[in-house]
Each structure stands twice: as structure tokens, then as C-alpha cells.
Symmetry: D2
Subunit: 174 residues, 4 copies
């Protein structure tokens, strides 16, 4: 490892949080999440999710781990939760839904992937409270309108994983 | 103190959580909150809020403490937060927004009072996740539609503090 | 209610946290806790415990509720925990052992009652970290020496509930 | 990347938590922590610390990052805390001392490095509560005796970083 590599090793890693439904996530939302996970990993960003082995979390982690050298972090609700086998680092909070605040605070930017349930809603809201940018990928018009009303500036709607990555690259990750 | 009183002392107290904006809350929302606090206290229920000395929290606590024998609990975000002087019991969580989950889990029912910002949105969402009923008092059509879409059954819209109390009495507190 | 009573109602309530073993607490430690709870209530202080229906927590709450007008707060680990029937206000944290920090931050002073297990040790340590005074009632010489080594100033050893109350009255509650 | 490497990428990573004083840590304790960090990284284990840029945390992270391919995780108390520049993944909990429980739950084994203050005491106690093994490297006889009294089985005293690694290899990581 040369000096340049050493330096890169030490640079703070850019973390993208992907949030979405666990049990009961729609197939198309998981497909989006899987693409997103893969693209995040290709950018050498860290993928952060709620860490469970279901739904959007699992799909995003699976996508990321297709990429050699990828790094995935899962923030688990409790000690009994089953972790995604594709999460490299598993943080066990044992504080259940209150861990949603940790998910968003530990991410540089958040992508809410697909249909938004109560858990994801709390994460988007906590992200806005923490002044983070949230990209909505898919989801209903109604949800988008509601969140944009909470913060016109911090909510960005996108229609593909590719577009999400482009926006993160151009506007957030410098 | 006779046997009946002793028994009453021991019965689990019914807790109503009142959530809403802190800094920047609208005057009309605070007026609603103050009425609500007073009516909750008159029913001999416990008022629970986020505990700070501003906005909807402060107004609800002030209303409740007009009633002799009332009991108010404030769940403060951190050690530096200024507590409402009308909060009898102050719980210091030092976990900032993650305390929102404690607010809803410790309440039997939640009333979201007035315009809904990111903090209150997270509380309503966490309440639904915990299978609690949430009454929306005031707030926009758009917010109501969004939350009812998350849970048609658990979200009830009301237009006055009085109506909120009636619904809690008839449907939830038995 | 006259002006003086109203004022008193509004004065911040003084909270004494009583910590100790749950399951497996020794009978003598529970006896101490019960006396302590009763004496705390007689001083019109609020009793705060970990809220479960076993051991030192249950005994302290039972003692307090013998006193008319007493007020007891229990900070429960999670939604499945069984609350003491003698806890008036039950705060559900759903964050398991991490709630120990809330127990100590929300108390003006802490009494560790009896033999000290891992849970109580974490509470004493967190109390010292938060610059709170901790009274050790009972417990081993070894534990007392260890904690006094952590903070000579903040750890006070006492041999009875009565003595604990006296010290709190004279040195802490003014 | 061949099949074997892919598989290895997917195997759950073994995490060693190194805990100890932040501000005011002794120089010798930091020296131990730095060796420990380096040795943990050489075993290809993940190093987990409280994440701040001082004391034992900083030293352990610095040691680990001397090793190419190492991975370090820091669990920060709050949004204002300064992270170690040698922490690859920074988890922001914003729950201050309550994050100590996350530190221990997310580690497979804990090494308490050097003199034990209140924060580290809470972590050792929470680790025992969670049934984790804790190695004490350095520290006083008195502290060791106290913790061994809490759990004879889970507390292991060692006198060097090398010995700590040997014990983890032989008894815990298989």
C-alpha cells in the first residue's frame, strides 16, 4: 500500500442510507433497492440500512455485495432481529424503532426506496429534522407532496436508482 | 384514605400524549393545546408531552396545571433542554429526537395538535408503528390524507379539543 | 386550591431514584427498599425506579404507595416488561438496558439499594458520569471501595434507609 | 474476485470492542490500545470503539489503520463529538452515554484497556448484563476484583495486548 492509498483509506467514507419497507415490501421496490445498492457500492460509498434480512434492506445489501470491495452497514433494531447476510458490519442497538434516528444521523444522504410505510415515514421525518437531504425513489404522489410540504428544499423526487446516484454525485458528494 | 381511594391510587393511570410544534408553533395550535391540556386534566388523565417550555408542549402543560390535582409528564430531549415549568415529572432522556419513540410508547393515545412538522410527523409514524391511535386536531387536509393512507383505522381527524376528548372517552378509555 | 397550593403544584418535584436488583434480589435488600420508598414518599419526593414488578423496584414502589398522595415513576426497559402495579407513571422506553441512563439523568439523587449486580453497577457508573450523588445502602465493602475510587466525592455509603433520607435532606434537597 | 473470496466477503465479520478512557487517558493505556488496535486489524477483525478522537479510542483506531485493509467502526455519542480520523465507519447515535450499550452489544468480545473510569465501568457492566466476555488489560487489582465478583466466568484479566489477542483467538473466535 502506497502513501496515496493510505491516505484514501483514511478519508471519511461517504455513507448513503437506503430506507424502505421490510416485511411486505413490493417486488418492484426491492428491485430498485438492489440496483441502488449495487450502484452505491460501485461509487465506493458505504451502504447503510436498517440491517434486517427482509425487503428493501436485504435487497439493497444484496446488490451492494455483488461489487468487490463494497462495504455495507446494518443498524439492527434489537438482539433478536435477523441480520441480512449481506451486511458486513452489524450494529445492534436494542432500542427498536428509536434506532431509526441513528440510521439517518449516520448517513450523509438518505434514499427512501418505494412505498413509504410508518417506519420509513419516521426516518424521512427524522432526516428532515436533522437537516439531511432525502431522495424519494418511487412512492405515491401523495407521499411526495406531503414530504415536500414539510421541506421543499430537502426532498427530491427521482424515478430511478440511476437518477438518484447522479443527483448524489452532482449535488452532495464532492 | 379509605379502601376505595387506595385502590384508585393503584389503578394504572391513563396517559394522553399531546404532540405538536415547539418553536414556531402557531397561536391557534397553542390555543387548542391549552384547551386540550385542561380537558385531559379534568378527566383525571395524565398529560404527557415532549416537555419543553415552548409551543404546543408548553400550552398543553399550562392548560393542565390549571386543574387541581392534575399530573403532567414531560419527556425532555436532553440535559440542556428547558423544561416547561408546568411539567410535574420531567424525564431526561439525553437522546434527542430518538426520545420521540418513548413519547408515543408511554401514551395510551396520542393527539397531534395543529400543523405537523417533521418532529410531530415522526411521532405520528412511530405511534402507528406501535399500533396506537392518533387523533389529528387541526392540520392540513394533505397531512390527514397522507396519514390516513398509512393507517385508515388508527388515524382519526377531529376539529376541536372537545371532540378529541369525547372520542377518547367513548372509544379508548374504558 | 389557593395561591400557595398552586405555587407548590408548580414547583419542580424532587426525584429520588432507587436502583437495585430485580430478579434474585435478596430479601433484606427488598426490606430496605420498601422502607426507603415509604420514607421518600413521606418527604413528598417522587420515587423513580426501573419500574419492573420484581426485586428492589417493586419493594420501593410498594413502600411508597402506602403513603397517601405519593407519586411513583417507573422507567420500563421494554414493551413486554411487566410494570410494578405500584408505579403510577410508567414510561416505556423500549431500549432495554440503555434506559439505565434515563433512570439516573431523571433523578436528582440515586440510592443503590443492596447488593450491586451488573445492571445497578451500570447505573451507578452512569450517575457518576452525569455528576450525580449516589448513596450506597448496604452492599459489599469491595463494591463501596471500587465506587469510591471512581469518585470519592459523589459516593456516600449509608447503613439504613433512615440515614439515606437524612443525608438527602441535609445535603441535597434544599 | 473468485468464489472463495466472495464467500469470505459474506462471512460475518468478527468485531472486537476496545473501551477505555477518552480525555485524560494515561499514556501507557494509549500505548496498549494502539498495539491492540494493530493486532486486531492484523487478525482481520473489525475494531469497534466509542469513536472519539481522544484517549484509548483514538489510539486503538490509529493502531488499526496502520494495517492495510483494516476496518474500524466508531460509535459516537452525539452530533457534536469529534470523530477519530482513523474511524472508517462513524455511527452517530446522538444519545450520549446510552450509546455505551450499543458499543458492547455490537462487539463479539470487549477489551477494557487500562484504568477504568465511570464510562468504561458502565460498558463492562452492560457487557456482563449482555453475557459478553470482557478482557481487562491493565487497570487496578481493586477494579479486577470488583468485576470478577460480578462475574467470575466472563471477566478475564490479561497483562498485554498480545495475551488478549491469544485468548480471543483460542477461546472466542473459531
Amino acid at each position: 500500500m502506497n502513501a496515496k492509498q493510505l491516505l484514501e483509506e483514511r478519508m471519511p467514507k461517504f455513507v448513503v442510507g437506503v430506507m424502505g419497507q421490510g416485511d411486505g415490501a413490493r417486488q418492484e421496490d426491492c428491485a430498485h433497492a438492489e440496483s441502488l445498492g449495487e450502484m452505491i457500492a460501485k461509487e465506493q460509498w458505504v451502504l447503510l440500512t436498517g440491517g434486517r434480512n427482509v425487503g428493501v434492506m436485504e435487497a439493497a445489501n444484496r446488490g451492494a455485495k455483488r461489487v468487490p470491495g463494497s462495504l455495507t452497514v446494518g443498524i439492527l433494531p434489537n438482539r433478536e432481529s435477523k441480520a441480512s447476510p449481506f451486511a458486513d458490519i452489524v450494529i445492534i442497538t436494542d432500542m427498536n424503532e428509536a434506532r431509526n434516528n441513528i440510521n439517518v444521523l449516520s448517513s450523509n444522504v438518505i434514499v427512501a426506496c418505494g412505498q413509504v410505510g410508518p417506519g420509513t415515514t419516521s426516518e424521512i421525518a427524522l432526516a428532515l429534522k436533522a437537516d439531511k437531504t432525502v431522495l424519494l425513489l418511487g412512492g405515491t404522489e401523495q407521499a411526495a407532496a406531503f414530504f415536500q410540504d414539510l421541506s421543499a428544499e430537502k426532498i427530491i423526487r427521482v424515478d430511478s436508482a440511476k437518477k438518484a446516484i447522479e443527483i448524489i454525485k452532482s449535488r452532495l458528494h464532492q
